[in-house]
Symmetry: C2
Subunit: 200 residues, 2 copies
């Protein structure tokens, strides 16, 4: 597992810096300090490695969180907005996911796995009577995934992602009143202070 992790990290750093086409297998092996044999034991190809990087996203964020329901979903987006600024693996995953046209692949799994994680929080929220009637957890989970995808792209070119947490906070200010019951809108913590408690 350590070798696999080292390969993923090295590949992510190379993809983050040079993109899919610009990153070579040799560059990745050099960074990881590993041989071709080690690579092909764990991954079939550069493309296979890219898909593994793309699909590593939720595990980087979700296990760190204690909260439940709607607050958990808010916390996922806040922590994600911070991690994207500091973690090359998450950044490479997001870059590759968005640049699939130039890789010649079409893999919806990275989006779908985020949407699924978010829908699980929202089903808990629904069971705890946090959501307004008629709000579908699966639909809202997909929509929040879409909005986060777009906000990091806008933020990347507008500010090098410096304002990404501001954008995540703004999303909830606009979205919560239409999807959560009033008591939950009032109680849910959506702020830079909340993010600070999550980073710890």
């Amino acid at each position: 597992m350590q070798t696999r992790k080292a390969l993923l990290r090295a590949a992510a750093e190379a993809f983050d810096e040079y993109g899919y086409a610009g990153a070579s297998i040799n560059m990745i092996l050099k960074r990881a300090g590993l041989t071709t044999g080690a690579l092909y034991f764990h991954f079939d190809s550069k493309e296979d490695l890219a898909h593994a990087v793309m699909n590593a996203q939720p595990e980087l964020i979700v296990p760190q969180l204690q909260s439940q329901g709607l607050q958990r979903l808010v916390d996922i987006t806040l922590l994600w907005s911070h991690m994207l600024q500091v973690d090359p693996l998450l950044r490479a995953a997001v870059r590759l996911t968005g640049e699939q046209a130039s890789m010649g692949t079409r893999d919806a799994t990275p989006y779908q796995s985020w949407a699924k994680v978010m829908a699980e929080c929202l089903r808990d929220a629904q069971n705890a009577n946090e959501l307004q009637a008629g709000v579908d957890p699966d639909e809202l989970g997909e929509f929040v995934t879409e909005a986060c995808t777009g906000m990091q792209m806008f933020s990347a070119v507008a500010s090098g992602r410096d304002d990404l947490s501001d954008r995540a906070i703004r999303m909830w200010r606009l979205l919560l009143p239409g999807v959560a019951v009033p008591a939950i809108v009032a109680r849910t913590e959506v702020s830079h202070e909340r993010l600070k408690t999550l980073i710890g």
Copy 2:
């Protein structure tokens, strides 16, 4: 102007099909049936041409619409979701905007011009008392731009953009109740039927 338009269209078709790196100046000139001289009269470089394609977006959609206020903003997103499936210029603009990392550029103008057009609709909506108190037109305009950006990426890999209009309709179902006053939520038309009337 006709030559400039022909160059933009030819460049868009090439960028849409091959991406920025894959599309060559020669390929673009061949498609347009024009000479190098004609190109450099209108554009400084392939990069200049790419920025012109990226920034052509709102003019492809907005002048076609008659509605006002919040309905106009909804109509922009509905017509955009359709045009992205059929218009190579819009499709190339969106692809290039999202792939700026591989072009080595950082141009927030395509996002900002969409956000500005949307904020104008929302200021009209605010003046007509369509918005809930505290909803900021500029903030909501940026957020809808972000959400549309992300939904077309998710839709591209999930369905080749076949479900993009469904996703635009879903966004408004989730977002409207939190930002518009109840009478406007009830009156605003957000449906495939509405989109059909816009296509004409």
